[in-house]
Amino acid sequence: MARVGNDKMKIFWILRHPGTWKIFRFDDRLMLIIFGAITGMTSGLAAVILNRSLLAMLNTVHDYRHFWWAFLLPASGAALSSLFLNKVVKESPGHGVPEVIYSVHRHGGLLRFRSSFSRLISCCLTIGSGGSAGPEAPVVMSGSAIGSNIAKFFSLNDRQRISLVGCGAAGAISSIFNAPVAGFVFSMEVILGQWSAVNIIPVAIASVAGTEISRLLQGNQIVFSHRGFEIGFVEITASIGLAVIAAMISVFLTRFIGTVHNASQRISAPKWCRAAIGGAAVGLIGLYMPVVLGEGYHAIHSMIESQFTPGLVIVIIACIAKIAATSLTLGSGGSGGIFAPSLVIGSFAGLAYHRFLMVLFPSLDWVNEGCFALLGMAGLISGMLQAPLTGIFLIVEITGGYEVMLPLIIVSAISTTASHYIEPASFYLKDLVGKGWLLPPGTDGRVLSDLSVKELLETDCIAVPQNLLLRDFIPVVAQSNRNYFPVEDSVTGRYLGMIHIDDIRPYLFNPGMYDAVILDQIKNSDMDTVSLSDDLLSVLDKMDAKGMYSIPVVENHRFLGLISKATLLDQYRKELRVQTTAK
């Protein structure tokens, strides 16, 4: 309590630092559960707000859909959302989930406060005006940001903050889909990336809290309720084919979004113009195929209910149109997630597959087509996110159908495996893996990125002036524990070079040289140096390239110390043990 000036402020200080309370000090699980519940409720609330405002927006815009200029609506929405993100809140475009994962991996879950609302507004503009994207990812982003900022406000440490980021994501997904298990599994599988015991409980509590908020405000309704399906052996066998198709589509969608993104980068126009062009294109598609516009839940509904009447060709065209619209919206800089479009594309694919089977084997007694739409959704979600459990639980919960469990598991597992085979990183992780930013704890890259040059610095080297005689240098050598001696300018203190004990060995036993040689002549001035801000991976590369065991650290022409591989091994092992050993 050293910082606390007067007693009046002391109580606030203590309240804002619950990590220092006696009952939480030896075990913070209780504290995480409490904060997890708060985070889950808040992010659940954010999800409900987004849901409501989307509905209101869609209803307003719906009246203008039949005009010929309606294709300008998605264009203006995308442009506005891009302007808002770039100019007003100054955040990167896109849905934000990669940013959350990156922050969890590299910055201990630190997210900006404005992230907790910025994506909500921009995605509301994009989707509400007709852009083809999902509201889930933005809600995950804002839920995570809420969790992160709650942790920041209460001065929690990185591990606790990461837990709360997971709680936020779980609460958001649970609330928006009314699906507690899916939110929980999504958070563990995709956002946190590891099933550690300390995280599971608060995240589970948060998804319960998020779901409860949603049920309280919107009622307990299953998003896509349906009649029961009779699943037989034939359907389970057929689902394997659907899984492969879903995997192909998800890889294609992932790549196509990337292609459109790269193409739009090449247009030399401001970002909002690119978004407007993408939006206009989506609008044009929407004039002929209105089913692609918006998040598309209405279409899913009718497909599962078997009320989607068009034939096989139309369904395939709709599926391709939805892929194109989604790629154009997201690739050109619109704001929104991949969740809802995946569900829509998946159900189109399932429907098309079902109709194709009907043509191929008309004599067999096939299950209702809604079942295949449902399986297609699971296949596409699993393929896109490469998260089989999320796919399974999400579909089970949003459809309320446990009877499709068997084919669901098969589709999810095969789709994940197949898409992983072609595209090793999921849609969310693709960029991060490409940039080398994905560093799970306990890996070499993570240990090296956590350790810094400053932590490994050995400062017990004795610096010598450059015009010292060898005779005077020998007592210095006798005193030192190290084999390296930095040579510094006697007046300015500038670093000039290093002397290794090997450099003087030839003259050491020749007293005639003692007065003939000064250190300036022996010093090794072209030795590689590193600075404090260098990251350890590049430092090690430098050392390996020249076969060095120690490297001097020089900042602003001042010698600061040495980095040696011996000390590095010591610290590296400690770091690895601390990162990998379970609590």
Partner: protein
């Protein structure tokens, strides 16, 4: 009535409680039982309600728990030195939540047991038992290793007129005059010194010999000792330069490190020819020690 009973109980309990010093729950339980007896004495009530006693037990359990998880509050630099980690690493670990320590300003607040458990789980060895004495031990031990020559010589003293015509005889008569050793120890020391001489002469030239046992003698002495022995007649020690030896420095150390340190200093001083000349005059103890101290000061071994 009930409340009065409780109040009285807690009052007695806290007044007499001794668990401020005890870490163990067992002790707390013992204290509670004695409280109960005392309470019965004070109130004259033979049987205190069991419910009340349970209340005391439960309260004591929680107080004891809190007490058990008592916090230590240490500056981060000091803690880092004890855990043998760079300050920056410790700071980062606290920030990342990898180590069960809270930071308040520059101070680390933690519980000793929790930290010890954590260290065992992660196979990180350290000793925080010395935290309260703020780590002075290590330094004093280092100083002890680097003790000046003159202290060891003061402890050993100077012996004059050692009789004897050959190596074993002079060592025999010198060891016999070590009044600080028991007869058995003298015998074993003599054996060890002769063993070392048989291996190779300790005569280092210029008429000086430094007999010493091959292994440290931590069981006999507790501080390094050098006994300076001036011989009555110079003796052939089979020294490197074949000069007869007139002075022996019998060196007994409790550790190899000290031994090497003292040996290095002694040989350094003995390279000085004028000092050898001074030794040949067989000075008295005070004069001799003064000269050694002066030389050590001159060479910067003793800081003034």
């Amino acid at each position: 009535m009930f409340a009065v009973h409780y109040g009285l109980q807690y009052f007695v309990f806290f007044r007499d409680s001794e668990f401020h010093r005890n870490d163990d729950f067992q002790d707390i339980v013992l204290t509670v039982s004695s409280t109960r007896q005392k309470l019965e004495g004070y109130t004259g009530v033979q049987k205190v309600l069991d419910l009340n006693i349970i209340g005391v037990y439960v309260t004591c359990f929680f107080i004891g728990l809190l007490h058990f998880y008592k916090a230590m509050n240490v500056k981060i630099e000091i803690l880092a030195r004890h855990i043998d980690l760079p300050v920056d690493t410790l700071d980062r670990w606290i920030r990342q939540g990898r180590i069960p320590i809270n930071k308040i300003g520059d101070n680390c607040v933690f519980n000793e047991n929790t930290l010890a458990k954590w260290a065992a789980a992660h196979d990180i060895r350290f000793d925080i038992s010395g935290l309260n004495t703020s780590g002075k031990d290590k330094k004093t031990r280092e100083i002890k290793n680097e003790e000046p020559l003159v202290y060891a010589m003061q402890r050993g003293g100077v012996l004059h007129d050692i009789e004897g015509k050959d190596v074993s005889a002079v060592i025999r008569s010198a060891v016999d005059r070590f009044s600080f050793l028991s007869p058995e120890d003298r015998e074993s020391l003599y054996g060890q010194l002769i063993d070392r001489e048989n291996l190779m002469s300790t005569g280092i030239g210029n008429g000086v010999a430094i007999p010493h046992p091959r292994t440290p003698m931590a069981d006999i002495i507790n501080a390094a000792t050098i006994i300076t022995c001036f011989l009555k007649h110079p003796v052939d020690f089979h020294a490197v330069d074949d000069q007869p030896v007139f002075i022996m420095f019998i060196m007994l150390s409790h550790s190899t490190k000290t031994h090497l340190h003292l040996l290095s200093r002694l040989t350094f001083i003995l390279r000085n020819n004028s000092f050898i000349g001074f030794l040949r005059q067989m000075p008295k103890q005070e004069l001799f020690l003064d000269e050694i101290a002066r030389l050590e000061q001159q060479l910067g071994f003793i800081k003034i």
